[in-house]
Subunit: 243 residues, 2 copies
Amino acid sequence: MSEIILRQTLPSEAQEPKTLVEGAYQRLRRDIIEGTHAPGDKLRVEHLKEHYDVGAGTLREALLMLVTDALVVAQGQRGFRVAPISLADFEDITRTRVLLETEALRQSIAAGGEEWEAAIVAAFHRLSRAEQRLADHEQGISEEWEMRNRAFHEALISASASRWIRHFQHILYQQSERYRRISLFRQPIARDIHAEHQALFEASLARDATRATSILTEHLLRTLDAVRRMPADFFNGKGTGKP
Amino acid sequence: MSEIILRQTLPSEAQEPKTLVEGAYQRLRRDIIEGTHAPGDKLRVEHLKEHYDVGAGTLREALLMLVTDALVVAQGQRGFRVAPISLADFEDITRTRVLLETEALRQSIAAGGEEWEAAIVAAFHRLSRAEQRLADHEQGISEEWEMRNRAFHEALISASASRWIRHFQHILYQQSERYRRISLFRQPIARDIHAEHQALFEASLARDATRATSILTEHLLRTLDAVRRMPADFFNGKGTGKP
DNA sequence: TTGCTAAAAAATCTCGAGAAATGATCTTGA
DNA sequence: TCAAGATCATTTCTCGAGATTTTTTAGCAA
């Protein structure tokens, strides 16, 4: 029953859009996360409606749905904007993720059954394959990797009984995706992400909660460090909304 | 700057509605929290538009805003419903609140300055007056008490640097308000809430993080216990949507 | 009575046009 | 030259009506 809440509150991207609003919502969300619409940008309904080929009211509803994900901010009588970004915001996101995700992982390790084990084995396998392909081809982050990385992280905490933590984790993951894409694109880091994932996977499967949560924490903080090392002017003009 | 995010993402009820959508949103939210629209109820746009005296599209947008608060769930081509309730959900809400709110309180106690102290002193004073009035008149929970209780809890964590934790706390507080109103209305409990608040207030002002968080945790868990003691059939027919 | 099919009713979703508000441009005066 | 005010264009907000989809009702046969 309550399962429905999260399904509806957070339509995952794999879901087929049942309505025009949902379709516009999904495409808009992707364009925001990928940076097509830059942080702080104004989202004018009149302009966007033709690009996404829907009516004005429909587009407004899609924008409202993105407010739920905190990817768009609405201001009274002054329309919509892409949510701004800042280093302070990403630090906050990461710390809050550590708090929520380690707790959820602890719960998963304590409560997870065979289905949970099978799920993380499968998700890790799929992620490993994608990471191997990336290593072979020396390319940047791919759409495929992003989806499988998300699936792996969500599988790890899927046995947690707390739907609310999973709900908030989902929102925060989307947020960090914006930062990660931008930072990894600009400054590919020398970092063995696969090894981190492997260690996290093994500790979780071994039911070693202490080790697993500590690995997860470091895993998240390393991405924060990467963003910290971005050029100082990186966030200038991105978050204020003032060009 | 980012302050704007939360202001816009979570228009507090004290804010004047700048638009018809916001007005409908605020009234709808109050009616859901107060139980006028019961959990699981279908929210038919055609019926509600005349009651709230707005157009269909406007009401749809207000409903979408309530999805952000997780007070309403939207299902593809099948309209809107009031989010269901259940004991398991309230347990989840409470545990997640403990996790987030104790962390935020720790941060506040560590980082709060004079303005923070002044804010909680003022909020506690206002709350105490309301509680005294309630004790004198032997009445149930009043609108005034609800607002001041919320203000007190938000003031306690207002010095936390984490906007995200405060954002999630705000959502969860609204959720628990639904449960608290229903349970307190049906079964007024013999419990000295004022004493709990006073102890919480004093420990916070004394910067005793350990004691303050422990009091806060018990404070929240006591309300959970009260809901647990509700009649067994209390949640029947409320959350499933099937009468 | 039960179960299936089909029509009818209701509700949701979608769009385009009009009203209100915001922001930009230009003029005027010190 | 700068500041303040007025006019105009853009944008947001709002509504009502039409097109789809879902749900209910009615009919018929087993």
